[in-house]
Amino acid sequence: MSEFFNQYFDFHVMGEHFWEVLEAFLQNLVIFAVAAALALIWGLALALLRQLPGKKLLPIRFITVAYIDLFRAIPILIIILLISGGVPFLSFIPQSIRIPHWFGKPDPFWYGVAALVIVYGAFTAEVYRAGIEAVPGGQMEAARSLGMSHWQAMRHVIVPQALTLIPAPMLNEMISLLKDTTLISVIAFSEAVLVSREVLSERLNSSAMILTAFFFVVIILPLARVVDRLIARNQGKIARGSHIEVA
């Protein structure tokens, strides 16, 4: 039993590598910040494209739906490996884009962000869609009958209401995204999991990995609680028969 604690909870090992792991964990947070911002925008764009009305725009809706279906299905790890393993060889792309070193971040960082945005764009698009479709149909009809174009109606009437419905499920997606930043370890980017593995092979001890897990729990648990309370509040309102809003 003491072997268990030595292997996983050796506080000396944790102490000696504390700042190293924390610094690497900050990298996870940076990946998350960049990928989340981009995914939220990209997802909204996808959701709006999906809503474009009319027969003429059917091809756009079709492609958008196909994109969303495809990238909700393919594991992110595969996407990361496909990008990092293949893109550098596509010589028709200029080197500065093919092997990006933007803002001082190396190419594995950007391959990872790209993969996360591609996939989480699809997931967030579905959350936006659920919000948009939950807005009563009468809203769109009323807006159009007041003379607004489809675009004006979306921008001023539908989307603002939809945005009040999505915080809980969107926060779930963001939590998932934060955890998935660890996948970039496989293309040798020094985030927390990679550094913990280095400590593991150096010290033959897994305590740094537990430390990493601890950092994630500290950040995510409060967020998860917020989600729970938002959902409970909305359910309470449904039960009382009132409109769902987030104050």
Binding site: E3, F4, P88, I99, E198, S201, E202
Partner: protein, 279 residues
């Protein structure tokens, strides 16, 4: 409702904790494990199976698919197995945990082009050296970089947990050093152009150059490192058997034959007299 949910959650947690404790206290000797790519007998001298952990692929030392593993390490271990009456079963495992795993009995032995180092000796005992190695620096053909020092300030790849990674970290303080989980990943990164150099075992580098892909070795760093077969500390009987088997294989010419096959050159005399005292 809340009460039953809480009780259920506690019950699950307790069950998980209890099973972990059982595993922790039960020793953990698991030579018939279903770990890695499955243990498959690879020929040898009949008799008791000998589970051998190895990070596959790492050509030309170990490569191939489960059941059809091949390479210098694999064939040498099979030859040793014949001498000592054991059938080696190679199992694929991650290199960065291999010494800890052998130390804890997950495998009987580890043979993975592994250098004998003091650090590793804290967890395992090594056999006499079976291969004398050094590190090599790989770059893309036509690169202006011609030595290890010239990689200072550049992006360099190596494999996690290897002596090559250590060398890179020691010598290149100002470079971005990328540790890949597998050796071939580091080499692929070089071919893709995302890194400018790779520091890796010389024979592996040589093999990679022969395979093509536009890379070349620009420097060999004589680190005087010896590869050994690792067993758990205290397994003196097994270690003696392996050393004896290795000696017999070296003396009757089998070693030279296997060496020629994989390295296209006769083995250096020094390896036959190389010994190592397990600490």
């Amino acid at each position: 409702m809340r009460q039953t949910r809480l009780t259920a959650l506690l019950a699950v947690l307790l069950l998980a904790l209890a099973s972990v404790a059982a595993v922790g206290c039960g020793g953990g000797s698991d030579t018939t494990g279903t770990s890695g790519g499955g243990g498959v007998a690879e020929g040898g001298g009949g008799g008791e199976p000998l589970t051998v952990g190895s990070d596959i692929p790492y050509p030309p030392f170990e490569q191939g698919k489960p059941g059809e593993y091949t390479g210098f390490d694999v064939e040498l271990m099979e030859a040793i197995g014949e001498k000592i009456g054991r059938t080696p079963e190679f199992q694929d495992t991650s290199f960065e945990t291999i010494f800890r795993d052998v130390g804890q009995g997950k495998f009987d032995a580890a043979m993975s082009a592994a250098t004998i180092t003091e650090e590793r000796e804290k967890a395992v005992d090594f056999s006499n050296p079976y291969y004398l190695s050094e590190q090599a620096v790989l770059v893309k053909e036509g690169s202006p970089i011609k030595s290890l020092k010239e990689l200072e300030g550049k992006t360099v790849a190596a494999q996690q947990g290897t002596t090559g990674l250590e060398l890179a970290k020691e010598e290149l303080g100002g470079s971005e050093i990328r540790p890949y989980p597998e050796g071939p990943d580091a080499i692929n990164a070089l071919k893709a152009g995302t890194v400018e150099g790779v520091v890796i075992d010389a024979p592996v580098a040589q093999h990679a150059v022969e395979e093509g892909g536009g890379i070349e070795i620009v420097e060999k760093v004589a680190t005087e490192e010896d590869y050994g077969i690792a067993v758990a500390q205290g397994e003196t009987e097994l270690l003696e058997e392996i050393n004896k088997g290795l000696e017999e294989v070296e003396q009757d010419g089998t070693y030279a034959k296997i060496f020629e096959k994989w390295f296209h050159a006769p083995p250096p005399k020094a390896v036959f007299s190389a010994t190592h005292e397990a600490e």
